[in-house]
Amino acid sequence: MLPLLIIILLTGGIAAGIIAYWNQAACRWLSLITVVVDFAIILFIWIEEGLSMTLTDSWLRDSHIPWIPSFGISFHLALDGLSLLMLVLTFFLGILAVLISWKEIQYRVGFFHFNLLWVLAGITGVFLTMDLFLFYFFWEVMLIPMYFLIGIWGHENRQYAAYKFFIFTQASGLLMLLAILGLYFIHGEQTGIYSFDYFALLNTTLSPDTARWLMLGFLAAFIVKLPVVPLHTWLPDAHTEAPTAGSLLLAGLLLKTGAYGLIRFVIPLFPSAAQSIAPWAMLLGVVGILYGAIQAYSQTDFKRLVAYTSVSHMGFIMLGVFSFNELATQGVVMQMITHGISTGALFILAGILYERIHTRDITQMGGLWSKVPFMGVAAMVFVMASLGLPGLGNFVAEFLILVGSWQANQPLTILATAGLVVATAYSLRIMQKVYLGSSMQGYILTDLSLREKLILVPMCIVIIWLGLFPQQVINTARSTVANTMHAGNHATIHQKQDQEEVPNTSAFNTERREP
């Protein structure tokens, strides 16, 4: 079942690429159908099994096909609560990406959809794979089509942005490859069997500093992908220059692969090492929040501004992941989903505006509410989501993260909460500069077409649904989060015996085990 998801996307991509020579509309419809089919499958799995998941058996589906047995590499895909949620988000945003580029992309449509579907295939692979070699493989598969998406269909200096994006991710990816190989060989030495399988590598006993080095290798790749401040400069360029569908996928999904990697690989594989650098990582997260927010305030380019807001939101994820308790990690899972939707929607709005007035400079815009009220309302919903208004998805996520991280580190949480104020400042600035105020330019704007409404209305419904009824999502992710935390806490117990420096917090989340 699981490889089917990826195969559909890959073949769909190729078919779309070919059909485009004859008829572009058919190509668009085909790619839409492929993603819709995948979405239907994953929804079916979610509704049928995801909701009724118990704590123990967290793995819903597992397919294991040996690929290169001699090296112990197997095509091992597995689906659990977390990856199920991520896939639902992937295919949901995938459909929107295809829909949004219906009119926008006229130039070499076939190749565009080919790249689009292959990026989605790469991302699906990343979320499903349980084999580290395969993980790196999909990590690269995800990267190259994205480079083309930005490089060919982007805006003014797209080459620079695509190039920068590629180098950043590729270089960090290689560090991860080193770490994977290191882990592979150490595991091979210890147990004699050389295998890249995630479960096998899970319990390799590593000496503290090798564990730290290997973890730093993994961390490098995920920190660049989930932009943490010092390594985030590729994101604004990539987002500003990417076509709407590109930046939608980039913001909605590629950033999440970084966060997913942290939860899936860094914490379980190197619990004690992750524990030891937790304070630093949280500090980086908070710096990310504040730095991203301050940056976002002064931007004049709409997409660049939204890009910096996602740097700030990703800072929350960093803070949440390294506070090592179930609350924060559930918050991180929620944040991944809600951020994907709210920032994706803001990018779609930027794209729609660009299609109409051919500029992204918010100083040129103003007073658009009177001309395009429907888009104004939609923008209002998503701007409020991005500043964490309760009742919308982002609030639940940020609240859980902050409550969770409060137990781990108080001063940093205070700083992060202060970040919310700055978040309000830049979010309202978007509304003010673009929709409210008086408009100097006499733009003649048509309000949203049916297609655009078909994109934005479901997103509004989903973000409000996540805000008011997040329990389904939390239940689905509960088992994965519990296991990750178990692995994480397993380390804290060691940590406690080694030195008593984390007195109450670790005792906290170990005692209060989930019944």
């Binding site: 309760p390 309202l428 105020g437 008011l468 009824f469 997040p470």
Partner: protein, 628 residues
């Protein structure tokens, strides 16, 4: 009837939803009917639920709609909790809200965003009701932020002018500063009690903490921070005067009756924490006292009609904080109710006046409206009297007097609080009647364009009746001792214990307060009717002080200088990302080295041979000396 409690917030929500979705296509009447109707229904339902609640005599009623989120110990649900305190609040919100909705049907008649206005107003009423009825602090926070959002939307309603947008943004951001303090308080509460359910916290708090434990004080201060942000008290009060950029019904509903008192509700609701943290409670009183003086003085110097009322709102809420500071919880709530009536009346009256003089805000250009707009004049006068707390006849007297008395007599009260309250009362009397005399008396400077219809006058009349007779439900000892209101709240909120041997002096204090109010009125009469020359002299002689007070003790400029300007400066300075420079510098370094190495390939054969020989020598020497 009780179990239909959840319908109260749902009606306005549905109203707002309909108006947002199909508002633009509805005609004015239908939109008005939906907008006002939904709040009307909510008001009726509140009456019914309240009646049922009082008869059933059950202390509190809890209704859970659905489980919001339940994660590893933090389980919060959409649950409403009705008890005497929240009953009073929802009564005031829905009733005054309904009157204001009727008023704004006429007020916003020609405005093109008619449906949008009612949508926001309904959304506001809904989130305020959620805030007040919330069973747990997270839901309260939802209502809290929802109210902040709606105030942002409504202040910036006429979005075409940029300054309205700026005022709206300022309001939202400053209240958001308060909200973050409150959020941190929430986190601390959760980390100690593992629940955010208000009732559980209030029951567990006395067992976990002994009076004065540092954790309780810190949490109390944080919650106070949230309350100060929302209720525009001292540190965060600069947004309220600018919030007058919104339409008058908005100012009436949000910035007088309901939203600004959210802070009062929060602190009253979490009173056990404040009981356990006397230092924090004292500071609540101090903030109240200082704010009421500061706002009172600034109100003296304002020329914009609505800004006078804005500053007076700040000072009246200062009274409520003072009351809470001295532990007089029920009198704070009582003053809230009465204040909601007469302040809404004043704002609506001011709105009617402004509309009548085609959007003239400056009081000094009004005048002589006494006989031109009689109904508005009389209702405005009653509201002003109630605000100035003229003795015996107005409701304001009873509520403010009770606070004055308990500030002096309460065992937590002290003489400073009393003196501050007294001078505050005196200043209030002056600026209130200064406002009345300037706007309604003297010669008419601008012509009345049109007389407001009955949809405006009816709410004014109803509110004026309430502002007079509302006070009689809570008579002090000296005047019949009929304390229906505080008995109603007594089982929920701890009553104030008086210091010993002080009962006798109550009527003296009432006398002083009444006298001061009357002298204040007389002084206003002298300065502004009999001989305006004196007021001009005073103004010119104390010009610096006058400007200082006019700018609201230019706290605004201070914040601009301390926070806004540096933030904007850093942000613009760092517009294109100083970290990016690091990477571009990296790229340039690689290009430079490339240049250097390119020169080594000079194309000269002998140069290459020389390279080979040098290489050979190096290898041999290395192999010789580096023995493996």
């Amino acid at each position: 009837m009780l179990n239909s409690l959840w319908l109260i917030p749902t009606f306005p929500f549905l109203g707002a939803l309909i108006l947002v979705l199909v508002g633009s296509r509805l005609s004015r009447q239908v939109a008005a009917r939906i907008g006002a109707g939904s709040v009307g229904l909510a008001a009726l339902l509140t009456m019914a639920v309240g009646y049922d609640f009082l008869n059933s005599g059950v202390g509190a009623y809890q209704y859970t709609a659905w489980n919001w989120f339940d994660v590893a110990g933090l389980s919060t649900s959409f649950a409403f909790y009705l008890d005497p305190l929240s009953l009073i609040f929802i009564f005031v919100i829905t009733f005054v809200g309904f009157l204001i909705h009727i008023y704004s049907v006429e007020f916003m008649k020609e405005d093109e965003g008619f449906a949008r206005f009612f949508a926001y107003l309904n959304l506001f009423v809904c989130s305020m009701l959620i805030l007040v009825l919330a069973d747990n602090l997270v839901l309260l926070y939802l209502g809290w932020e929802g109210v902040g959002l709606c105030s942002y939307l409504l202040i910036g309603f006429w979005y075409s002018e940029a300054k309205n947008g700026y005022a709206a943004r300022k309001a939202f951001i400053i209240t958001r500063v308060g909200d973050t303090a409150m959020a941190i308080g929430l986190f601390m509460l959760f980390s100690i009690f593992h629940t955010l359910n208000i009732q559980d916290i209030l029951t567990q708090a006395p067992q976990v903490w002994v009076a004065g434990t540092s954790m309780a004080v810190v949490i109390a201060f944080l919650l106070l921070g949230g309350a100060v942000g929302k209720s525009a008290q001292l540190p965060l009060q600069t947004w309220l005067p600018d919030a007058m950029a919104g339409p008058s019904p908005v100012s009436a509903l949000i910035h007088a009756a309901t939203m600004v008192t959210a802070g009062v509700y929060l602190i009253t609701r979490m009173h056990t924490i404040y009981e356990l943290a006397p230092l924090a409670q004292l500071w609540v009183g101090i903030i109240g006292a200082v704010t009421l003086l500061l706002a009172g003085c600034s109100a003296l110097t304002q020329f914009d009609l609505k800004r006078v009322l804005a500053y007076s709102t700040i000072s009246q809420i200062g009274y409520m904080f003072l009351a809470m500071g001295v532990g007089a919880w029920s009198s704070a709530v009582f003053h809230f109710m009465i204040h909601a009536f007469f302040k809404a009346l004043l704002f609506l009256g001011a709105g009617a006046v402004i509309m009548a003089l085609h959007h003239e805000h400056d009081m000094f250009r009004m005048g002589g409206l006494k006989n031109k707009l009689p109904v508005i004049y009389w209702t405005f006068l009653i509201g002003a009297a109630s605000l100035a707390a003229l003795p015996f006849v107005t409701a304001g007297f009873y509520s403010k007097d009770q606070i004055l008395w308990l500030a002096w007599a309460g065992e937590k009260g002290n003489v400073w609080f009393f003196l501050a309250a007294l001078t505050g009362a005196f200043i209030t009397a002056i600026y209130t009647f200064r406002m009345v005399f300037i706007t309604f008396f003297g010669k008419a400077k601008t012509q009345v364009s049109h007389v407001p219809g009955k949809r405006i006058t009816i709410p004014l009349v109803v509110l004026s009746i309430l502002s007079v007779f509302g006070g009689f439900i809570e008579l002090p000892h000296t005047l019949g001792h009929f304390t229906l209101f505080s008995d109603f709240l007594s089982l929920l909120l701890p009553s104030v214990s008086l210091r010993e041997g002080v009962e006798s002096s109550e009527w003296i204090l009432q006398g002083i307060a009444g006298l001061l109010a009357l002298t204040g009125v007389y002084m206003a009469y002298v300065f502004y009717i009999r001989s305006p020359r004196i007021s001009d002299e005073i103004k010119s002689s104390t010009y610096v002080l006058h400007q200082f007070w006019l700018q609201g003790w230019n706290v605004d400029a201070l914040y601009n200088f301390l926070f806004v300007r540096p933030f904007v400066y850093i942000s613009t300075l760092n517009k294109n990302d100083v970290i990016d420079k690091f990477y571009t510098m990296l790229v340039r370094a690689t290009e430079f080295f490339n240049g250097v190495f390119v020169k080594t390939q000079s194309g000269i054969l002998r140069w290459y041979v020389m390279g080979i020989v040098v290489g050979a020598i190096l290898i041999i020497t290395i192999s010789l000396f580096v023995q493996p």
